[in-house]
């Protein structure tokens, strides 16, 4: 089955990101295809490499990055939601005149059209959020 994942809440404050990671991992292990993981609302905060959770806690962003590397996942952060919340890649930082970017490895920033396309192309769009 071809699945896409939508993550609507930020890491740590909500369990959605953890559950989305566990679901994605389980789906891949079962042999399903993940067409795309899309991050919206505060979910965009999953993609900052500047988060430093305590060492005895999980690092959610690193979990995404590792999973993306291993399974060639397409992790897409919504540009409109990211602009509000200060998630920037190099291009966006330049375009907005900001002095640095903070996007984590394995993530990319793109438009909401990527979410709609995921809804069209996938057998199921599975949503994690409140």
């Amino acid at each position: 089955m071809k699945l896409s994942i939508l993550v609507n809440e930020g890491p740590y404050q909500h369990q959605s990101a953890d559950t989305a990671i566990q679901f994605t991992k389980a789906a891949l292990e079962k042999g399903h295809e993940i067409f795309r993981v899309f991050f919206y609302h505060d979910g965009v905060n999953n993609g900052t490499r500047f988060a430093v959770p305590p060492q005895d806690d999980r690092n959610i962003t690193e979990q995404w990055t590792e999973m993306a590397k291993e399974h060639n996942l397409d992790l897409v952060i919504c540009i409109a939601a990211a602009q509000r919340r200060g998630i920037l890649d190099e291009n966006e930082a330049k375009r907005q005149g900001k002095d640095g970017d903070n996007i984590a490895e394995g993530f990319r920033i793109s438009g909401l059209g990527q979410l709609i396309e995921a809804g069209i192309q996938s057998d199921r769009l599975v949503i994690f959020g409140d």
């Binding site: 089955m1 939508l6 919206y40 609302h41 409109a80 939601a81 509000r84 438009g111 909401l112 059209g113 979410l115 709609i116 396309e117 809804g119 069209i120 057998d123 199921r124 769009l125 949503i127």
Partner: protein
């Protein structure tokens, strides 16, 4: 026997998208960012249905004034949906009535459906996004 998700019909270019708005317009950003999804999605010419239920019915209430909370009043944007060919707007009867509202209180024309009818509508959808 093929699995339901292997049904070829699901692979057509036009899918039935439903956006379910359940939250008050202010207090959280869900309503505003849901509207942003709907407007962008309109360009993809999918079969779009919008639902307002629970506190989400307040999103399309007339005469919103946000001056005192310093947040932009985005309710006029719902009136632009028609221009994007987003014309299937449903409001859950129970949500409307329990808040003392009627369709006269809303900024856009809607179809009022009860909870059972809404469940049937949801059953027909291929992608449901709830905000």
């Amino acid at each position: 026997m093929s699995e339901p998700w292997e049904d070829d019909e699901l692979d057509g270019p036009v899918r039935k998208f439903m956006y379910v708005n359940r939250r008050a317009p202010y207090g959280t950003i869900y309503a505003l960012e849901s509207l942003e999804v709907v407007l962008i999605a309109a360009a993809f010419e999918q079969d779009v249905t919008l639902v307002f239920m629970d506190d989400g019915v307040y999103q399309i209430k007339k005469d919103q004034n946000t001056d005192a909370i310093g947040v932009k009043n985005f309710s006029p944007t719902y009136r632009a949906l028609e221009g994007y060919d987003v014309e299937k707007l449903y409001v859950e009867k129970e949500s409307l009535e329990s808040r003392g509202l009627t369709t006269d209180d809303l900024v856009v024309p809607v179809q009022v459906v009860n909870n059972d009818q809404l469940a049937e509508l949801m059953e027909e959808q291929e992608v449901i996004l709830s905000f």
